[in-house]
């Protein structure tokens, strides 16, 4: 297990190293002059030159990259061009707020999705099962940003229960904080629950046909124990992989949801950076998100290996 962990950790580091080069080159080598693009086409030559100087754009590309990457290794993410503030604290605050959204959503997605999947899986073909299947089909087909807008229409416009946008920290009172977070979290959960429940359902159905389930029933165990102690544990292995994939989808969802609800997290910050063409912020932001994503995948892989010993001793290359 330790060797496997180390091997996967090395992969993550390698991926981040290569990604830092890729992000840097994509943002630098895009067609057109970066400085010109930042100040706009009506800027004077002095303005363009000033931006070039501030971003050190006149240095050779590899010098620019090494300066940037060297800063990253020292924990210096650079300075925002638009706000003229160091990016480190700004990104850290934004990540903390996004992590609250992501953590709550993922926990709810796992809990509700697994419960629904098991519930409909053991009742295959019943009316409840078909209702859940139909519901999840519907939920999968509605894009997050449309859910968000429908939710705002209903809970803000029509009912007036919850604020449409904004954020309140926990210091401003629990209910105040919760009011601002309910709609974003509900929107994020709505799309992903169907994913998890569909997969859990099919893997539950498959597991319930296994020989050891028949054996457990034959020795007279009550059905609830058969499900909880014998079936669930094996049925959940593929669900964990899907949860890891969902982390990627969740990150996309967070960008959209934070934009719709003006929630000051990392997704909103990234969109702001792109709108303002704040180059250092774009680079740092995307690299940070990639790092978080890589770590989330690493965690999922390790959990998977922990639950399924066959992976641990197989070749890492196959995964």
């Amino acid at each position: 297990m330790i060797a496997y962990t180390l091997r996967r950790l090395a992969t993550v580091i390698a991926i981040l190293a290569v990604m830092s080069v890729a992000i840097f080159s994509i943002t630098q080598v895009l067609p057109g002059d970066v400085a010109q693009m930042i100040v706009g086409q009506f800027a004077t030559d002095e303005q363009v030159r000033a931006v070039r100087g501030r971003l050190h754009l006149d240095d050779p590309v590899h010098v620019q990259y090494l300066r940037w990457a060297g800063g990253l290794l020292h924990g210096d993410l650079g300075t925002s061009m638009m706000m003229d503030r160091p990016l480190g604290p700004m990104i850290r605050e934004a990540i903390a707020r996004s992590a609250v959204l992501a953590g709550l959503s993922l926990a709810l997605v796992a809990a509700i999705g697994i419960w629904l999947g098991v519930y409909s899986g053991v009742r295959r073909g019943t009316r409840a099962d078909r209702l859940i299947s139909l519901g999840s089909y519907f939920f999968i087909s509605v894009p997050e940003f449309f859910w968000a807008i429908l939710a705002v229409m209903l809970f803000t416009g029509y009912l007036g229960w919850l604020p449409a946008t904004g954020y309140a920290s926990l210091d401003e009172g629990f209910w105040n904080w919760a009011r601002h977070i309910i709609l974003p979290v509900a929107t994020l959960v709505s799309g992903l629950v169907a994913h998890v429940s569909r997969l859990t359902r099919s893997s539950m159905i498959e597991t319930m046909q296994a020989q050891y389930i028949r054996a457990a029933r034959a020795k007279g165990l009550p059905e609830s124990v058969v499900i909880r102690r014998h079936a669930l544990r094996n049925a959940l292995v593929p669900t964990i992989t899907v949860l890891a994939i969902d982390v990627g989808l969740l990150m996309g969802g967070i960008v959209v949801v934070e934009t719709v609800f003006s929630y000051p997290g990392l997704g909103r910050l990234l969109i702001f950076a792109i709108e303002q063409k704040d180059l250092p912020l774009i680079q740092a932001g995307i690299l940070v998100v990639t790092a978080v994503y890589a770590l989330a995948n690493l965690a999922a892989d390790l959990m998977y290996a922990f639950l399924n010993p066959r992976i641990r001793y197989g070749s890492a290359a196959a995964h």
Partner: protein, 286 residues
């Protein structure tokens, strides 16, 4: 597109088509008609503003009402169908165009080629999908083609991995061995022996990718990183209608509902195709 081997055609015909496929196909057909003939069917030009009729609720003249510039929502929807389909099909086409050859090469050649391709793919996968889109679209002015290509690139790894897996299975079959023994050229084996037998799962996956691409494209347009105004992409229409959802909800709801219907239609087709092609899938897995 690959034509399935003749022996399987009668069997597929004899079976009743799944209801989902019929419903999805009909719904999708309507959307394709809107995309092809939208400009002719639309009662107004998609960008004709009418200051006197701003945000009018649906009535006899404007069946789905008008937006904040007095533009006819129905006309904009019909024009937008083309953009959404272009995005969904275009992106899927790009992912097939790049992913299938990569997967074939990795699966059939194996060894160092396989290793190089798969590591490259791991790298693309290591960026969350929407971020890849943001990264590719962040610094130049996006348009529908750039967005479609960006979304397509995001899905290349999935296509390549799938093609590789199927190729590995098919390459073990005896008819491939026979072709090699006959001394057929590499491209012939790949194109005439392996590809026709690897298609079914790839088609099913491609159908699924179309819905993901439509949704991701709409999300990018919604974020301002896809189709640009005054075009009437559905995601963009929803974004533009956002400030007015209290006073003119129809402007946001209409494109949203159409978007969902499109996604449901393609999903139904994908599931239906899976049902129809499944027996062959099992045959391939042998």
């Amino acid at each position: 597109m690959a034509v399935p081997p003749p022996t399987d055609v009668p069997r597929a015909r004899r079976r009743r088509l799944p209801t989902g496929l019929v419903w999805g196909g009909s719904l999708f057909g309507l959307i394709v008609i809107a995309a092809l003939f939208g400009p002719m069917l639309a009662p107004f030009p998609y960008d004709r503003m009418d200051i006197m009729a701003r945000m009018t609720p649906p009535d006899a003249i404007h069946w789905l009402g008008t937006d904040e510039f007095g533009r006819d929502v129905l006309s904009r929807l019909l024009f937008g169908a083309r953009l959404s389909l272009l995005m969904g099909l275009g992106a899927t086409f790009v992912s097939l165009l790049l992913g299938v050859p990569l997967g074939l090469a990795a699966g059939y050649k194996g060894g160092r080629v396989d290793e190089a391709i798969m590591r490259g793919i791991d790298l693309v996968i290591s960026v969350p999908p929407i971020l890849m889109g943001l990264l590719l679209l962040s610094l130049s002015t996006p348009n529908v083609w750039k967005t479609a290509v960006a979304v397509g690139i995001i899905y290349v790894p999935i296509m390549a991995r799938l093609t590789r897996a199927v190729t590995l299975e098919v390459a073990r079959e005896e008819f491939v061995l026979a072709a090699r023994a006959r001394g057929e050229r590499l491209w012939y084996i790949l194109a005439a022996e392996i590809l026709p037998n690897a298609w079914p799962p790839i088609i099913v996956e491609a159908a699924l990718r179309v819905t993901f691409a439509i949704m991701l494209g709409a999300a990018l347009s919604f974020l301002g990183l896809g189709v640009q105004p005054p075009s009437s992409d559905w995601g963009l229409m929803i974004a533009e209608a956002r400030p007015f959802i209290d006073t003119a909800p129809w402007v946001a709801i209409a494109p949203g509902v159409v978007l969902c219907l499109t996604v449901i239609a393609v999903n139904l087709i994908g599931d239906g195709l899976r049902e129809v092609l499944d027996p062959r899938l099992r045959q391939v897995r042998g």
